[in-house]
Assembly symmetry: C2
Homo-oligomer: 216 residues x 2
DNA sequence: ACTTCTTATTAGGTATACCTAATTCTTTGT
DNA sequence: ACAAAGAATTAGGTATACCTAATAAGAAGT
């Protein structure tokens, strides 16, 4: 009864991620994120519901406790893979997503342990997201999007909710990476850009982009 | 035309390995090695032949040049994975096979390069088998099975052609690992055991086992 | 030469996971 | 209240890679 294929893992992981933004996840959003057709997703969601990994209501899909546990295991492997890639193999943060997305399905519980141990039990992935521990416990910090800061507010970047390599490269080029301190100099009105100050330089950042950056 | 699935990789890798022992590989041998039914293998071999990755004659299956090239790429990834597991993640040589067999299909050319670089371009896997380089060039040393040595002959272990964890554990417990020097003290007649001397200790080794150990 | 054993293939079928086209169900604007 | 738009599902189909049972082909033994 406990047969998990890579595909199931992939769906659970996507649902998990999308739930952070929008609680019951719509099948269309899920299809978009997985780059699959809506009917394919519809069908698969039905199977996941049969396996009691998700609840499927009118409002959308949500993970059951069991589904959540399984999703977090995949997320753990994904984020540990990312750290392995950056910390040991010298990858940049914009190069790791796709690679980790394949690795996460090929990693045994033993390998998971060994990676964690070799890396000194890292708490976050290179993008600042928490790595769930063996028991699925994960500490989320209270954060808000950079886009919501007021003028003259100062904060520290916690994570970046983005996986597009181009965007990540861009952010890294501005020094907008986790643990960096940012000062919002000015907020243009009517949804205009933010002028931010990062390690001595000043940049204009679109709201859309700024909303992906979570700070504390 | 160049779509390689994990399954195709798996078949090519198995054929490659089995070719070292028996040149045209029989489908039954292949089925046994892959732990699949004979008809499944029969069918898949037909597909591989269609894709010009193997030639299938009465005598059996052999890799074409293209199949061989592809197989060596998989073997490279497999052996690099094994080295990653032992050298960086602290695995023992008997624990790496199955793990590497999954990883090899999840590793991009970029990751392959990075692993090789991070490990200092290792020449062999933990079992002593050569790692093909990027261009598929692989240096095979001239070796013979330990089982063919005469009494009083001394040699150095090059590799161990075995993937069963139990057997590998046993061999490691006797110190029978690559680069170790072995002296054959005595060869019992009628296919009997060899008495070998390894780093100061003396052991009796069955012929079957000894034939898996290649020395120079 | 013929029977037996082994090896390989054909036949027929299953599960998984995807697709497009058509349909139904749900909002939402007027 | 209802038509149009949008979201989701159903219907029908494909590709891949397995399986068992039955059959055919090849090798070996008497
Ligand atoms: Mn994935
Ligand atoms: Mn990440
Ligand atoms: Mn494999
Ligand atoms: Mn090896």
């Amino acid at each position: 009864m406990e047969a998990d294929t890579p595909r199931i893992e992939e769906y659970l992981e996507s649902i998990y991620k999308l739930q952070q933004e929008q609680h019951p996840v719509s099948t269309s959003r899920l299809a978009e994120h997985l780059k699959l057709s809506a009917p394919s997703v519809s069908e698969m969601v039905k199977k996941l519901a049969n396996k009691r990994l998700v609840n499927h209501t009118e409002k959308g899909v949500c993970l059951t406790d069991e589904g959540n546990t399984m999703a977090k295991r995949v997320v753990r492997r994904h984020r540990l893979s990312e750290r392995l890639l950056t910390d040991i193999l010298g990858y940049k943060w914009d190069e790791v997503h796709d690679e980790a997305c394949r690795l996460e399905h090929a990693i045994s519980p033993q390998m998971e342990d060994r990676i964690a141990l070799s890396l000194g039990n890292p708490k976050t992935c290179p993008h600042g997201h928490p790595i769930p521990d063996k028991d699925g416990v994960l500490l989320k910090e209270k954060v808000r999007p950079l886009s919501e800061l007021k003028s003259k507010e100062k904060a520290i970047i916690v994570n970046v909710f983005e996986e597009d390599p181009k965007m990540l490269q861009y952010l890294a080029s501005l020094g907008l990476i986790p643990d960096v301190s940012v000062l919002v100099e000015e907020v243009a009105p009517f949804g205009g850009p933010l002028i931010v100050c990062v390690s001595g330089s000043r940049y204009a950042l679109g709201r859309e982009v700024a909303s992906k950056i979570k700070v504390k």
